[in-house]
């Protein structure tokens, strides 16, 4: 058995043979699921803000569909495998981890969908009274990431505007119900004892390679309360300046001495 340890902590075992390949595919998809859910959450935070519009709603819809597809496939796979009594213990553990990941993703997705649904009712496209949130850029890059496409340069079809909203509304209702049912099914059909599932990863995840300290720096400029956490750089700067002053004063004294004597 070879182990595929992913950088982000989800590991899956690979077994030789046909079911094994399914398994690998399934675990890849499970890794994709959090990605889509994360992107959906970012997109949802745009709703009602100043960059809200038809494009955003369309992107949301597409992301939602992708999430649903993934979820359905994974669910089927996992249910199939977990119901198989002859599964070895190791694999079962892995499966259960994936199961927990899937159910948590679905829960997050469900909440986000509900929020978008409710906000969509308040912030309709027809009479936009959008909140000035300070956002400037668009959301297309995030949507592209969610759909695993290089970019999302699709011109929005303006014909969609008529009746788009009400249709969207109805579709969302159905989709939310569907996710609801899926979660319920997951609870009832397969008996996974969540509290017995042990995670593989460490407590503190390793930091990402190039931490986006730039935005952090911008935040800390806003933040007046840098209580006692003076950045080291500033201290070094002050020391250097002091040294420079000392050197300059010494030099001036020496030159004066030479001048006079």
């Amino acid at each position: 058995m070879t182990r595929l340890v992913r950088g982000n902590g989800a590991s899956c075992a690979v077994k030789g043979g046909q079911p094994g390949q399914n398994f690998v595919r399934c675990s890849w998809q499970v890794i994709l699921m959090p990605l889509v859910v994360a992107c959906y959450r970012h997109l949802a935070s745009f709703v009602g803000g100043c960059t809200d519009g038809l494009k955003l709603r369309d992107e949301l819809r597409q992301t939602r569909e992708r999430a649903r597809e993934l979820a359905t496939t994974i669910c089927q796979h996992l249910t199939l495998h977990l119901r198989d009594k002859s599964l070895p213990v190791e694999q079962r553990k892995e499966m259960e981890l994936l199961w927990v990941a899937l159910s948590s993703s679905l829960e997050l997705l469900h909440v986000d969908m509900c929020k978008v649904y409710n906000m969509g009712a308040v912030f309709t496209l027809e009479s936009p009274r959008l909140v000035q949130t300070g956002m400037q850029g668009g959301s297309s890059e995030i949507a592209a990431r969610a759909l695993s496409l290089p970019d999302l340069n699709r011109a929005v079809n303006s014909n969609l505007i008529d009746g788009f909203e009400s249709q969207e509304h109805k579709t969302m209702e159905q989709e939310i119900n569907q996710i609801d049912h899926m979660i319920e099914d997951m609870e009832t059909k397969v008996n996974v004892l969540r509290w017995m599932v042990e995670p593989n990863g460490p407590l503190n995840a390793e930091p990402l390679g190039s931490a986006d300290s730039a935005s952090l720096a911008l935040l800390s400029v806003d933040d007046e309360q840098l209580a006692g956490r003076q950045p080291a750089g500033r201290r070094v700067l002050i020391v250097a300046l002091l040294l420079l002053c000392v050197v300059i004063s010494v030099a001036t004294t020496l030159s004066i001495c030479i001048f006079f004597f």
């Binding site: 009602g48 948590s104 009274r129 930091p207 720096a217 911008l218 806003d222």
Partner: protein, 659 residues
């Protein structure tokens, strides 16, 4: 269609309605209007500018203008918007208040608006903390670190997912442009400051306990509503409700007027409101067991009897007054009933027995004066004691105290003394710096467990000290030799009376004694020396006799007669059969008439005046048949009759009467 909350809440607890959120949303939307809304300006950061920043003074001005309110109120309203999380500060992000100066704020994106339907979930918080942990390379704040560890423990099974999701969210955020990323970070941080406030601050989203009914569930509509309406029209009795509502309103107005000056939030609180100034003097001055109460507190006692009783210090004062009047048994009984009602289920039976023996039984040492019907109900109920078995008696006694003793207490010297001694603290005047200092010095108060323990110790100590008081009282129960009615005599002063006293409240009343000395003789004459072959161990005179008894008792008490001997010995014999805290085993012995004359002067047996010859109509207490039979049997054995106080619900085993 209802969209349910994701987490299957099998506990069925729901958040309450939060109407303020919907209203705040509307206000916020109005503020967005490009023409009539709040003016925004760009925020300049080091390398970029971010639009849509608003100043605090602009917000206050807009609110004051829109709602036609004064600046102070507008500031309060604005602070509420900030505290709820609809607007967040760009500088000093941890303090959620609106500063009416040039400090900058920004509107929160609707995704992060607080909502009643979706409570904040731990999973989200864990993901947020994980994200911060990754980006700050492990340098979380203290409370965040604690929460992180706690969540790791509780959500261990999901931890892989949480970390994965945190990383994915970070990566997705990178897809945004730099200023947008900053804005999103600010938004998310503000959201979590509102919902998971740092220690030492209060969250505006605190709503107390969860509710049992889902406020988002469908209400009664359609057919059912129509039926309900018809029902209303057909029943005119329902219209009375409307009238009583008017009465209710008047009462509410009166209540508000009376208590307005006593409310620490509606009016000035001396010395200062701890919630405002973080200075706890007010609470220490008003502790339950303080020696000198404050003037406001004493004033509250005059509002109603209920107020007096519910305040521990007030009750103390009242008890002192009653002790002087020798009628403390009412209050003791009331307290005993309260103890029973609020105590643990395990001790209920014991307590009920104790109360019965002390206050209600025939010849009880602190017999209380309740009418026959109530006594009947109570004794019947005591067969199967439950928490509220003494409710009827307690109400009766409460009304008695309220109508009688309370009025006299208000005019008494005790109350006047207390009022004179009451302190009126000076108002604190804190400067801003001092207020900050106070806020830093906030300490948590004592744990309620510790307080409860202290209370119990205090009570035990009070009870243990009680014998000192008792010897002052009831010195008038000298046995009258010529009365052949005696009950028993304790055969030897029992060794440890104080243990029995520990369960009895202090200042017992010798009420049971007096009837003997005054009316016994008459009754004896009437009854013509009926022996207790009747088997009627009399408990107390009948209701008609009782009022006479009570009056004579009062007279006697006022004269302050002393009684010889230690009443404590008598108490020791209180519980011959039932296992109670009273450790003494002495029993009441019958005294034969001829022996009574030779009784030593120290005899104090009159506490157990068990009459044998009261006329039947005076006998009002329902005497259980078993009791009767038992006593018949016992008496037929030649004894003078069992003089033990037997709980009527105890199964009686025949034993030799003399014991």
């Amino acid at each position: 269609m209802t969209i349910r909350n994701t987490l299957r809440d099998h506990g069925q607890r729901y958040r309450p309605r939060m109407a303020c959120l919907k209203k705040a949303e509307k206000v916020l939307l109005e503020m967005q209007d490009p023409k009539s809304g709040v003016k925004s300006q760009p925020q300049r950061l080091v390398i970029t500018t971010i639009p849509h920043a608003i100043t605090g003074e602009d917000i206050v001005a807009w609110l004051a203008d829109r709602f036609q309110i004064d600046t102070r109120e507008a500031r309060g309203l604005g602070s509420m918007l900030v505290a709820l999380g609809f607007v967040y500060p760009l500088q000093d992000h941890k303090r959620l208040l609106l500063k009416p100066d040039a400090s900058l704020y920004r509107f929160q994106t609707p995704y992060f608006w607080p909502a009643q339907q979706w409570p904040v979930e731990d999973t989200d918080y864990a993901i947020y903390l994980a994200k911060r942990n990754i980006r700050k390379k492990g340098l979380l704040e203290m409370h965040e670190q604690e929460q992180y560890n706690r969540l790791h423990k509780w959500m261990n099974h999901k931890w892989d997912f949480i970390v994965m999701q945190a990383k994915e969210q970070n990566r997705a955020a990178k897809e945004r442009k730099k200023p947008d990323r900053v804005v999103f970070d600010c938004q998310e941080r503000a959201y979590w400051v509102v919902h998971k406030p740092p220690p030492g601050t209060v969250s505006a989203m605190d709503y107390g306990l969860d509710r049992r009914i889902d406020p988002n569930a469908d209400e009664v509509t359609g057919e059912n509503a129509r039926l309900l309406r018809e029902d209303y029209d057909l029943h005119p009795a329902v219209h009375h409700e409307a009238q009583s509502q008017v009465v209710g309103v008047h009462r509410l107005v009166k209540y508000s007027a009376t208590y307005n000056s006593h409310d620490p939030f509606l009016s000035k609180c001396l010395p200062s409101n701890p919630w405002h100034t973080d200075d706890v003097t007010y609470w220490t001055l008003n502790m339950p067991n303080v020696e000198t109460p404050t003037k406001m507190r004493v004033e509250r006692w005059t509002f109603s009897f209920g107020e007096l009783l519910s305040d521990a210090r007030g009750r103390d004062d009242f008890r002192r007054f009653l002790k002087k009047e020798f009628s403390g048994e009412n209050l003791a009984f009331w307290e005993g009933c309260e103890d029973l009602k609020w105590g643990t289920a395990a001790t209920m039976r014991e307590k009920a027995e104790q109360i019965y023996k002390t206050f209600l039984a025939r010849g009880a040492p602190r017999w209380i004066n309740i009418d026959g019907k109530t006594m009947e109900i109570t004794v019947n109920g005591l067969k199967h004691p439950h928490r509220y078995v003494l409710d009827a008696a307690q109400t009766h006694i409460y009304m008695l105290m309220k109508k009688d003793s309370y009025g006299r207490y208000m005019k008494s010297q005790v109350f006047k003394d207390t009022l004179k001694k009451a302190i009126c603290p000076e108002e604190h005047k804190f400067t801003d710096a001092q207020l900050e200092q106070n806020a830093k010095n906030r300490r948590p108060s004592l744990s309620p467990i510790v307080l409860r323990q202290r209370e119990l110790e205090e009570r035990a100590r009070m009870a243990a000290n009680a014998p000192v008081d008792i010897t002052q009282l009831c010195r008038f129960t000298t046995p009258v030799p010529h009365l052949a009615v005696y009950s028993g005599l304790v055969d030897s002063p029992s060794a440890n009376p104080s243990s029995s006293l520990a369960v009895l409240a202090p200042c017992p009343s010798p009420i049971s004694v007096t009837p003997d000395s005054t009316s016994a003789s008459e009754r004896r004459a009437e009854a013509g020396g009926k022996a207790e072959q009747d088997g009627e161990a009399s408990r107390a005179p009948g209701s008609t006799c009782k009022s006479r008894v009570a009056l004579s008792l009062r007279r006697l008490l006022r004269r302050g007669c002393g009684v010889g001997g230690g009443p404590s010995d008598v108490f020791a014999s209180l519980s011959p059969k039932c296992q109670s805290a009273a450790g003494a085993s002495g029993r009441i012995r019958p005294i034969s008439p001829d022996a009574s004359s030779q009784a030593p002067p120290r005899r104090i047996g009159n506490f157990f005046q068990i009459k044998v010859d009261i006329p039947p109509e005076c006998r009002i207490y329902p005497i259980e048949s078993e009791d009767e039979d038992e006593e018949n049997r016992a008496s037929s054995q030649g004894a003078w009759g069992t003089k033990e106080i037997i709980c009527p619900w105890e199964s009686l085993t025949p034993h030799n009467g003399t014991g």
